[in-house]
């Protein structure tokens, strides 16, 4: 079943000359699967995530021939409907828990808030459910952690809190925008594993936005390669080695391989790719 159906999505930011087009007409569909969206910084990948959530700042134009969530036209939905959809039907995990968690609110309350908003206005139940979620994201002492403030926990814990918070209402679609790039390398994997496990268990769709092709290829079923606001290649994760597009190949080439260490990682040859810009 198709969760997300996007056709010809364009995102334009106002600038001094009128508008700058960050996303230039991309189309894809997402079912109960793990889809990776890969691109370097400035490729427009974060704009895609926030456009789906309709969380881009005022003045940014989102246009699409189709932007459907479970068959519902998101672009036409009134803001009130969006308030219902956000957190409940789709949710988003942001990059750095040091900034994305409210520093002055205990983490437990931040998790409960989603439950109270979308599931049931019952503090006792919300608390019990939040503790359960904390346990599910493998936090050792949920009772104690519940009352801690974001500055009192580590980055890895913070991102697990974020996951608990964004999954507590059981969303159908989870967008994870660079969920591990701000974390210590030693915990990246475990955090992704927790995310992966929970998403898989609930049968939700996952849009994993990342610049890191290696990570994406490990945790996703399918990968979209985004370059300068356009999708240049769509490929199964297992088939990445057979990627045809030069940009993808270049990205692949720059992944360090522990089994075959190289003294230098090749640079991306942008000139070689530049000629692709004009092609749709």
């Amino acid at each position: 079943m198709t969760l997300l159906d996007i056709e010809n999505l364009r995102v334009r930011y106002p600038d001094t000359h009128g508008y700058y087009e960050a996303v230039r007409g991309i189309s894809f569909r997402l079912g109960s699967e793990r889809l990776g969206l890969v691109g370097e910084s400035g490729s427009g990948k974060s704009s895609v995530g926030r456009a789906i959530m309709r969380l881009l700042p005022d003045g940014v134009k989102i246009e699409a021939d189709r932007l459907d969530l479970e068959g519902e036209d998101i672009l036409a939905a009134p803001e009130k409907r969006m308030l219902f959809l956000r957190g409940k039907t789709m949710s988003m995990i942001l990059q750095d828990p040091r900034f994305s968690l409210n520093p002055l609110v205990p983490v437990g309350r931040q998790i409960m808030e989603v439950y109270l908003e979308h599931v049931k206005r019952d503090v006792t139940q919300a608390r019990a459910r939040a503790l359960e979620m904390l346990a599910q994201v493998r936090i050792n002492d949920p009772e104690r952690t519940f009352d801690l403030y974001p500055h009192e926990i580590s980055g890895g814990m913070g991102q697990r809190v974020m996951i608990a918070m964004m999954l507590i209402a059981g969303p159908r679609l989870v967008i994870a925008d660079e969920p591990t790039s701000a974390l210590d390398v030693t915990v990246r994997r475990s955090v992704l594993e927790i995310l992966d496990k929970l998403v898989t268990e609930t049968g939700a769709g996952l849009l994993l936005i990342s610049h890191d092709l290696a990570v994406v290829s490990q945790f996703c079923d399918r990968v979209l390669i985004l370059y300068k606001g356009r999708i240049v290649e769509e490929i199964d994760a297992r088939d990445l080695a057979r990627a045809r597009h030069p940009y993808t190949q270049a990205l692949l080439a720059s992944i360090p391989d522990m089994r075959h260490p190289r003294s230098h990682l090749p640079m991306l040859d942008r000139d070689a790719i530049a000629c692709l810009d004009s092609t749709p």
Binding site: R50, M53, L55, M82, L83, F84, L85, R86, G87, K88, S91, M92, L94, Q95, D96, F99, S100, L101, N102, P103, L104, V105, E113, V114, E117, H118, D147, L148, Y149, H151, E152, M162, M165, M166
Partner: protein, 354 residues
């Protein structure tokens, strides 16, 4: 509740908590005493450079030389400056701020009159100013460049640029002279003077304590105009600062998180962004309140409000050292109290500072 997480420097462990607390209290108190003494010394030295001769302020223009010299000695002006200060400082420690020659009363007694007058005004003004200024600032800061933002900025601009003096006269002309809604000068109708026992020295509170609603309403009628002008000035500053604090917070990632959770706009603003500007607001409100203690001279003058600002200004004008030093001391104490309250508020409002 987070004691187990707090880090205790190893060296301090051998002290019992009560000894620690006592030690800290002594440290705080002595630093306050030092601050106040430093403030006094600075004021004392600065006041030496005031142009007016305090002796003539006392004896008038036509007094002869003998009188001049007697008063000169009486004021201790024949002694070296350091000795004058030492004598003064010793008296301050015993709670004696000396006599004022601009009122003929002990400065302590004067301060007991003028400080409550100013406090009554400033407390009402800061409550009104914050109650209006903060929501307006939040409204503007969360609607950047929309019409409401411009409206709030214009309201603030008017508050900034209208001289308190003209605003005061304008209000008096309309609401006192024309409409007769408010009192003209002072804190209450002199008809009611001395009618209720003096307890707090706040006319409104004393009237209520005595159960005299008529006197309370009368005092309100005198209080409302000067308080509103001060409140409006406070509003201008508070709303502008609140706006910029909110602008900053609304661009933070946790606000995106809050929105991604599907929270309503009101909850995003008040339960998330606003929570993060409270500490800054406490500072701004405390500063604004402190500034009103001595900065309300013009309003006090127009409305003949017998407050601290007027008292200090006249002390400076007539070079009444005891008045200047006593007033500065009181203002200093208030700033220290405000500071401590603000510190306390920080610790309540921001877990990171605990």
């Amino acid at each position: 509740m987070t004691d187990d997480i707090g880090v205790t420097p190893a060296g301090l462990r051998k002290w019992s908590p009560s000894a620690l607390r006592a030690g800290r209290a002594i440290g705080v108190l002595s630093s306050i005493a030092l601050t106040l003494m430093g403030l006094l010394l600075l004021t004392f030295l600065l006041a030496r450079f005031l142009p007016a001769d305090p002796v003539y302020a006392i004896i008038g223009d036509n007094a002869d030389r003998d009188t001049y010299e007697r008063v000169y000695r009486e004021l201790g002006l024949d002694q070296p400056v350091y000795q004058q200060f030492f004598t003064y400082a010793l008296k301050v420690v015993t709670g004696d701020l000396g006599m004022s020659h601009i009122t003929g009363m002990p400065v302590v007694r004067d301060l007991l009159e003028v400080v409550p007058a100013t406090l009554e005004l400033a407390i009402v003004a800061i409550i009104l100013g914050s109650a209006a200024g903060i929501p307006l600032g939040v409204l503007a800061g969360t609607n950047q460049n929309k019409p409401i933002d411009h409206v709030v900025r214009i309201i603030g601009l008017i508050g900034y640029s209208t001289p308190a003096f003209w605003a005061g006269m304008g209000i008096l002309i309309i609401f006192y002279a024309q409409l007769g809604w408010i009192g003209g000068a002072g804190r209450q109708d002199p008809y009611f003077f001395g009618e209720v026992p003096t307890v707090t020295r706040l006319v409104t509170v004393d009237a209520l304590l005595a159960g005299r609603v008529d006197i309370f309403l009368d005092a309100l009628r005198y209080l409302v105009a000067p308080a509103l002008i001060l409140a409006y000035n406070a509003l201008a500053y508070i709303s502008r600062m609140t706006r910029s604090f909110m602008l900053e917070q609304m661009n933070q990632e946790y606000v995106v998180t809050a929105k991604a959770k599907g929270l309503s706009r009101g909850k995003v603003i008040w339960a998330h962004a606003f929570v993060n500007i409270r500490v800054q607001l406490v500072t701004i409100v405390a500063l604004t309140f402190g500034a009103m203690l001595e900065g309300a001279v013009l309003v006090e003058t127009v409305f003949a409000w017998p407050g601290l600002g007027q008292y200090l200004t006249r002390g400076l004008m007539f070079r009444d050292m005891n008045v200047v030093l006593g007033s500065v001391l009181v203002i200093g104490i208030f700033f220290i109290i405000l500071n401590m309250l603000a510190d306390f508020a920080y610790r309540q409002l921001d877990p990171r500072t605990r």
